[in-house]
Symmetry: C2
């Protein structure tokens, strides 16, 4: 799939204006950079595809829960699962806390091989429908952002996906949706257990423990260095968890750009603003963007189209 | 640099015989594999370049120690450093244990930025001479293995370097020596500290703590999955620390190959055999190779040349 306009116009779904100009200027200026510095890091949920009303990975977890409860109804009595099943309440979810519920969901895959986990994700994504947008989940990707990925790739950028979500969940879809191979997905990892099968061959099994902290905020910066070995000169995000990554991308001399996707389009997608937690007051991420001079993509104003036709 | 013979012969520095035949057969058969499965993992020290009498990273550490002691002579009184400085004794090193000495050396770089560390490595590598082979350290790479990297790359393999050594040390030389970008170096990582400079910009600083366990044995398998997201179908190594990675590479159906470099050439390089630690008796890695049916590259018999001319 080539997202570049066949007429040769770069970023065809971006409306003329200051945001598109900033992106085109950066694309042009990037030729000054040695190719080893051309690293572009993209958040995924809310940056490359829709994240409301729930993350795709959460939908996958709930779907998997339903299938497991069908096989073993006793699972439905566990409070974290009961809150998510039909008849469960949002209030119960809130009382338990999302972190506890998320870790309970991770336990559903305890002992699974990475290959089996990936196959289960791909099976889900082949049939899942978005709860509100009236289209397949895999088709809630943002066309203007796919065009931006393609334009960067044409300019010899290395593209990485940097997500607060599960690394292996994203890896199962990153090639199909974004043409990004698994080694360039940086996310929240679970720990693997090494074992030998009955024939003595090495195998890996998922555990239910995280490997390090969730990949948000300053952790994204450390994990990009740990996994990719260098700092990006371009970063895109949409939430407080992307703040440090975006600041890092524009912290060195030379061409660089930090892009914030602003969800201000309740007609075509959703309207909401994320919050950056600081040592002082929480601050709207759009205010952080303005204060730090980031480029802001208004979904309503800057995008001629949002989703694939 | 193209390591493939201009006449079009693949693996020109590999002498005709069973080992070369096995490699060529694998290269031919790999066209059956979907490209996303074409992952080849190479150990570095003793597999892609010489590791005797000491690892290149150890030479770098000792060189850095000398430069720091010249600036701050008080460092020379620390027992771990005294053992390494001129006049220090091998016996003292043995008493302290290599792990303790290595962590003391890592402390030399505590607080350094990853960029400054990389620059220091590259400066060292630009001038370092091998202690015994009469050539620059950067020129102790094995020509037959460079040809194998090139042949795999031509067949759309993704090449990764999987080292027990420091990830960031190898990343500083991986592009120049092996044409492998930093995100495809899997090694032993130190932890980074996130901080802000006086202007409030994000920076990363090296700590003196490892991030997880040293990348040897079963840890190599877990770390390949964590960082690269899939299992290799080709792996090359030379020591007990590579055993699980080599076994893993040949554990699935379809074309795969495990290659062991056997250091049996005291005339052109060194003669030694690594040991695989098991729950039973330690076993020579060459015996493991024979028992498990790996392909063995005899440096003496299979390689027409060893180092670059």
């Amino acid at each position: 799939m080539n997202h570049v306009d066949p007429t040769g116009t770069v970023l065809p779904s971006w409306r003329p204006g200051a945001t598109r100009d900033a992106l085109v200027d950066f694309l042009d200026a990037s030729s000054e950079l040695p190719t080893e510095r051309r690293l572009a890091c993209f958040d995924i949920d809310g940056t490359l595809w829709a994240e409301r009303p729930t993350y795709a990975q959460f939908d996958f977890f709930v779907d998997a829960l339903g299938r497991r409860v069908a096989q073993d109804p006793s699972l439905a009595t566990r409070v974290e699962y009961a809150a998510l099943l039909p008849g469960g309440s949002r209030a119960a979810l809130g009382d338990l806390g999302l972190a506890r519920v998320a870790m309970a969901l991770v336990e559903l895959f305890d002992g699974q091989s990475p290959e089996a986990f990936g196959a289960e994700v791909r099976e889900f994504m082949s049939r899942a429908q978005h709860a509100a947008l009236g289209r397949p989940l895999r088709s809630t990707v943002y066309v203007p952002m796919l065009e931006l990925l393609a334009a960067l790739r044409e300019r010899q950028f290395t593209i990485a996906l940097v997500t607060g979500g599960g690394t292996e969940f994203v890896r199962s879809i990153s090639s199909d949706l974004y043409e990004v191979p698994p080694e360039r997905v940086v996310g929240t990892l679970i720990t693997y257990t090494f074992a030998r099968d009955v024939q003595g061959r090495p195998t890996l099994r998922r555990s239910a423990q995280l490997d390090g902290r969730p990949n948000e905020g300053a952790v994204k910066v450390s994990n990009i260095q740990a996994q990719l070995g260098r700092a990006p000169v371009f970063a895109a995000g949409n939430s407080g968890g992307d703040r440090e990554m975006l600041e890092w991308a524009v912290s060195e001399d030379g061409p660089s750009l930090a892009l914030l996707v602003d969800h201000d389009d309740e007609d075509r997608e959703f309207r909401y603003v994320g919050t950056a937690e600081t040592v002082e007051e929480p601050e709207a991420i759009t205010d952080v963007a303005q204060r730090l001079g980031w480029t802001v993509a208004s979904m309503r104003s800057d995008w001629a189209s949002v989703f694939p036709a």
